[in-house]
């Protein structure tokens, strides 16, 4: 696939369809693949990577990139297309300036899960019939593929591309039984005390590195409220349990109805806080209370929080009525 | 004493007599009106005044059929029948104040009297 992508990118560059390409390149290690913009065929040839570790969502970069001179080619996985579409809806990306090629998605691999098995010095990975053959500086190791799947790919909601100019590989479909709300439901069934303890344990790990915010395609404000001294809630370091809670509640609230559940927040969290659960809680609530809604699915529908149903909307007391206890 | 009694009547009936606006619809609607010395609206008013002893001593408390017409039609939801009932209960709860004793029964019996009526009367008029 990587080969085909490189060839197609060079073709489109050569015929003048695009002037730049956003994709990925290798970082320090084989498994830290980072988004990158390529401006020449040579750069593409030497650095372009798309492999099992290529999980990053490049949609957010297109806010800036689509406003630059010339057209840019973007390779988008199914989950990335939802983010892309949502940003189109919010008038953040200039659609005409992006040429989208839909590429197959995951499941992608989580290097942390490899390391957890004691596999270090990773040089590369081959996936053969569900078994990973990992080439390391200490020789080859193997492990079952399903044990190394990246968290955000475990409950994939859709392998369908909601927007593209051309498609590489086969088109997938929306996965209705992804089970992505199972963990949320599990938490909902705990007692409030248990939930409180769970989240204290998780959120107290937060170091306020802002990685979740910076990677999130929905958190794309020109100026984040937490960086704005006039907002009244700006803060840099979380010095108190309140601030840990506050930051994540407000962040989840600001992206509610806009979050496409791409899972990048949890992927990049250096403290492994399952932040996506907060977003999924909102998505689950919205689906249950206001009808099924998938952000990014289209570019015209009204988001659930900027919409209402005068007669059918529930009262907030529903929160008090349902749930454990 | 009467104040305690008033409290008791108010509590056991669950009626707020202050809601009465003195329209008299209860008495206007009461099928036992002519049998009664004190009428439904008077029950409400006299309980409000605390004038309860007179009600307890009156035969009126046994004349109420508990048909609830007054309850149904009261525009203010005062429920006079419940007041009557509460006064009656206060009366028969006192020692020896049963309104009906088994020895009275044979004299009352006739062909048309349903058995159920006797059972009901015992429930209503005895402790």
């Amino acid at each position: 696939m990587q080969e085909a992508m490189i060839n197609r990118a060079k073709e489109l560059m050569a015929d003048g369809t695009v002037s730049r390409v956003i994709g990925w390149k290798r970082g320090e290690f084989a498994y830290d693949i980072t988004p990158a913009v390529f401006e020449t065929a040579e750069e593409i040839d030497s650095d372009f990577v798309c492999d099992d570790f290529t999980a990053a969502n490049v949609s957010k970069y297109l806010i800036k990139e689509s406003r630059k001179e010339g057209r840019i080619l973007a390779f988008l996985k199914p989950c990335d297309t939802y983010s892309f579409n949502q940003l189109i809806k919010e008038h953040r990306i200039i659609r005409e300036n992006v040429y989208v090629i839909g590429i197959p998605g995951g499941p992608k691999l989580d290097a942390e899960k490899l390391k957890a098995r004691g596999i270090t010095g990773i040089l590369g990975v081959r996936n053969e019939k569900g078994t990973l053959h990992i080439d390391t500086v200490y020789g080859e190791e193997t492990m079952p593929m399903f044990e190394a799947i990246l968290g955000k790919c475990e409950n994939c909601k859709s392998t369908k591309h909601v927007v593209y100019d051309e498609l590489m590989g086969e088109e997938g479909e929306v996965i209705a039984d992804s089970g992505r709300f199972d963990r949320v439901a599990e938490l909902e069934n705990m007692t409030a005390q248990q939930r409180f303890e769970f989240w204290r344990e998780q959120l107290s790990k937060c170091i306020r590195c802002n990685a979740c915010r910076n990677v999130c395609p929905a958190c794309s404000c020109e100026n984040c409220v937490f960086d704005n001294p006039d907002s009244g809630i700006s803060n840099k370091a979380a010095a108190d349990s309140f601030e840990e809670n506050n930051f994540h509640i407000i962040r989840a609230f600001h992206v509610a109805g806009r979050c496409t559940d791409c899972g990048e927040c949890s992927r990049v969290c250096p403290q492994n806080i399952p932040l996506h659960l907060l977003n999924r809680k909102f998505i689950k609530d919205i689906n249950e209370l206001y009808g099924e809604y998938q952000a990014g699915e289209d570019t015209t529908s009204r988001a659930p929080l900027t919409n209402y149903n005068a007669d059918e909307d529930c009262e907030p007391s529903i929160v008090h009525e349902r749930g454990a206890e | 004493m009467d104040n305690n009694l008033k409290e008791q009547i108010l509590r056991s009936s669950g009626v707020n007599v202050l809601k009465c606006m003195r329209c008299g619809k209860c008495s206007g609607t009461c099928p036992s009106y002519d049998e009664m010395e004190y009428h439904p609206h008077q029950f409400v008013y006299m309980v409000e005044k605390g004038d309860i002893q007179k009600l307890m001593e009156s035969e009126s408390i046994y004349k109420c059929l508990t048909c609830f017409a007054c309850v149904e039609r009261c525009p203010r939801n005062v429920e006079p029948a419940k007041v009557v009932e509460a006064v009656r209960l206060a009366a028969i709860r006192q020692q020896g104040n049963n309104h009906l004793t088994p020895v009275q029964i044979p004299g009352m019996l006739d062909e048309d009297l349903p058995q159920q009526a006797i059972v009901t009367a015992f429930r209503k008029y005895t402790k």
């Binding site: 938490l187 907060l278 209402y308 008090h320 | -």
Partner: protein, 147 residues
């Protein structure tokens, strides 16, 4: 700090929309309907002006309960503000509950300008409810605690 439940006087912040609920609160005053002093009212133009940040801020600074009052659905002065508020507040409450923060510390009520009695009764019952929960500890900023 030892908390004696009988003496616990919660701090309760009430956000009232200018057109219905604030007028309803005024009416309960005009009718001399008593409700606990714990309740302090902040006037906002509409329930849809209440930002979730305000609610969190109140808890941060040591509020023990936050209640939001707006016009009844269909009666919003701005036609639709309370409908948006209803969704936002529902989701916020749900999230607070998800984080294990006592769900009974928060409430949304519809109080019209004519419902002085309802306003007083609502404040009475909400204060009782929050009193029963005890002080807010789960969403408080310890640095803001009174010495």
């Amino acid at each position: 700090m030892q908390v004696n439940d009988n003496n616990f006087e919660p701090v309760i912040v009430a956000f009232c929309c200018n057109w219905c609920s604030y007028a309803g609160a005024d009416l309960s005053g005009t009718n001399r309907l008593n409700y606990p002093t714990n309740v302090k009212i902040i006037r906002v133009p509409c329930s849809c002006r209440v930002n979730p940040m305000f609610i969190l801020r109140a808890f941060q600074r040591g509020a023990d309960g936050v209640i939001i009052c707006g016009c009844h659905p269909g009666d919003c002065h701005y036609t639709s503000g309370n409908y948006y508020a209803r969704r936002r507040i529902t989701l916020l409450y749900s999230m607070l509950d998800f984080l294990g923060i006592e769900r009974d510390r928060t409430r949304l009520e519809w109080v019209s300008a004519a419902e002085g009695a309802k306003f007083a009764a609502t404040m009475e019952s909400f204060t009782e409810q929050v009193k029963a929960l005890g002080p807010n500890r789960r969403l408080e900023d310890l640095r803001c605690r009174k010495q």
